[in-house]
């Protein structure tokens, strides 16, 4: 039976994401689009005249959606129609279970890993769960007995299956570098730095190198080890989320709203929520894999704790370090969310064939090449340093 700690961690993540991030994200989305389109944006919802620059709009949305009637169209398959949004929402939530929002600390009672479920095969878990998300789309479109919906879910399923392949391949290189599938381990592996020109030592004339060469150090982040992998993975996982510019399954201008056009009320809200929930989740995964997760660049855990112990004593130092890590984690996540917003409001929607070509003809070969190059580089470096 899961112990209290696990529950606490899971609840922490879920509450943070659902209660804190989601509304803010909706608001940010509105405001940012407004900024980018030179509008004022949502600002009318008020409680007794207090508008709070539109921060109340998410609340208003929720109330409105709850208030609406839940329509099941004629000839629809009722059960599936009701189930689809839930299926769509669940994967995003349960993905949170394996994401480390902070490192491993010892509060006197043995090391505690700040992740709900610290699985050895965490990344595989993420993939597996993510692949379930497809069904929400498929079932939704099919069950609601509508051609638009059917088309939408056809596009959706094709797109999601295709991009899963590339997504999986694009981070194989990363796994090679960090030699693990465990998210916590990956994050810890990035809690250090590497010398940019370190490999030059292998040629035996390191003493001839200028002094600064061994001073210049970079945080051992995935994005620095696998730049191409970062781009590919981000693209794929955003395509998985079916938000613009990959929103062909629900292209309003072509197929009215795609797979969820027949939904109304809170069930539509659930799809909506699912999409917005995916945004921070994506941010977390990308952060953990490529941006060093909870780590603070150039300041490894030992340094922080060691530095603060003198001032505060071990326990307080550890706690502070923990807080700092959580802080850095969510800062990075928010940065990633902002990046997604940016992309979402910058790029127009791809055509369907463009989406497919991008996946199969450009990114799949690139990811394969990435795997090969990484493997060769790793072997070469091992040779050099032996």
């Amino acid at each position: 039976m899961p112990d209290l700690g696990v529950l606490l961690k899971l609840l922490f993540m879920v509450i943070v994401v659902m209660a804190a991030l989601l509304p803010v994200i909706t608001w940010v989305e509105r405001k940012q689009s407004a900024v980018m389109q030179d509008r004022i944006g949502a600002n009318r919802a008020d409680i007794m005249g207090i508008r709070a620059i539109g921060l109340l709009h998410p609340l208003a949305d929720v109330l409105k959606l709850f208030g609406k009637e839940d329509v099941v169209p004629l000839g629809a398959n009722r059960w599936m129609h009701l189930m689809a949004p839930v299926i769509a929402l669940i994967p995003g939530i349960i993905t949170l279970a394996v994401i480390p929002f902070a490192g491993v600390y010892d509060f006197g009672s043995g090391p505690v890993s700040m992740v709900a479920a610290d699985l050895d095969w965490g990344m595989l878990y993420v993939f597996a769960v993510g692949s379930i998300a497809t069904y929400g789309t498929v079932i939704a479109g099919w069950s609601s007995n509508s051609n638009w919906g059917l088309l939408g879910s056809l596009r959706g399923s094709a797109q999601m299956i295709s991009y899963e392949v590339t997504m999986g391949l694009s981070i194989v290189g990363l796994f090679m570098c960090f030699n693990s599938l465990k998210l916590q381990e990956i994050a810890q592996a990035q809690d250090t730095t590497f010398r940019v020109f370190g490999f030059l030592e292998a040629f035996g004339w390191v003493h001839a190198l200028p002094r600064w060469v061994s001073v210049v150090k970079l945080p051992m982040w995935g994005i620095l080890l696998q730049p191409l992998g970062f781009i590919l993975f981000l693209t794929c996982i955003m395509a998985e989320n079916k938000r613009p510019p990959f929103d062909v399954p629900e292209g309003e201008s072509e197929i009215v709203a795609g797979y969820h056009m027949e939904y109304s009320g809170m069930r539509f809200g659930l799809f909506y929520t699912a999409e917005f929930l995916e945004v921070p989740v994506i941010g977390m995964i990308v952060t953990t894999l490529f941006l060093g997760g909870w780590t603070i660049p150039w300041l490894s855990t030992q340094k922080i704790i060691g530095g603060l112990t003198g001032v505060l004593g071990v326990g307080a130092a550890t706690g502070l370090c923990f807080l700092l890590h959580v802080l850095s984690f969510f800062l990075k996540v928010i940065a990633m969310i902002w990046l997604q917003m940016q992309i979402r409001w910058t790029l127009p929607r791809f055509r369907y064939d463009q989406v497919m070509d991008l996946c199969w003809k450009i990114m799949l070969p690139l990811s394969l090449a990435n795997v090969f190059v990484t493997a060769i580089a790793i072997l070469a470096l091992q040779r050099l340093y032996r």
């Binding site: 039976m1 398959n77 599936m80 699985l119 050895d120 095969w121 595989l124 878990y125 993939f127 597996a128 769960v129 993510g130 692949s131 379930i132 497809t134 069904y135 498929v138 079932i139 479109g141 099919w142 069950s143 059917l150 879910s153 056809l154 399923s157 094709a158 999601m160 299956i161 899963e164 999986g168 599938l181």
Partner: protein
């Protein structure tokens, strides 16, 4: 009974029910597919209980995530709302087949009791991707490669078959 056992029998029940649902639902192909997904996922859970983590993940990724989606994709592509077929030409052999396979199953289960070894606790890292990867690329590398060729052939075959015109 340990929690693992409870979960095992729970998921076993799910699996059987879902499989039956898939087979017996003669009106709605998509519903069959969905029950197949349930069966797959419960099997994946059972794999987890059997310490086969990699296999479990791949089971869900490939079966639930790809294969059944492919089924659904085709169903929707052909837009089979409900499949009502004319009366079958031959019922008897099928029923006989059911009976016979049931009988064979019964014989099998009856003979199964107490013939198998007790299961010892799994060694460290058993079923992890490291061990399996090692086995896959050293000892079983030939089957691995051969299977890759099979996949290639399957891709080509599928493309050729699904093309509208073979030109």
């Amino acid at each position: 009974m340990s929690a693992g056992a409870v979960l095992f029998y729970l998921f076993a029940g799910f699996t059987i029910l879902a499989s039956l649902g898939m087979v017996l639902n003669i009106r709605n192909t998509v519903a069959s597919a969905m029950s197949l997904v349930v069966a797959m996922i419960s099997l994946g859970a059972i794999y987890v209980l059997l310490d086969a983590y990699l296999v479990a993940a791949i089971q869900i990724m490939v079966y639930a995530g790809a294969i059944v989606v492919l089924f659904l994709f085709v169903v929707m592509l052909l837009n089979l709302r409900t499949d009502v077929f004319p009366v079958a030409r031959s019922r008897l052999p099928k029923l006989l087949g059911i009976a016979l396979s049931g009988w064979g199953l019964w014989v099998f289960l009856r003979l199964l009791a107490g013939t198998l070894p007790a299961i010892s606790p799994a060694p460290e890292g058993f079923g992890g991707f490291r061990e399996l990867g090692k086995a896959l690329f050293t000892r079983y590398v030939l089957p691995f490669e051969v299977t890759s060729f099979l996949l290639l052939a399957a891709i080509v075959g599928a493309v050729i078959l699904a093309k509208r015109r073979i030109d």
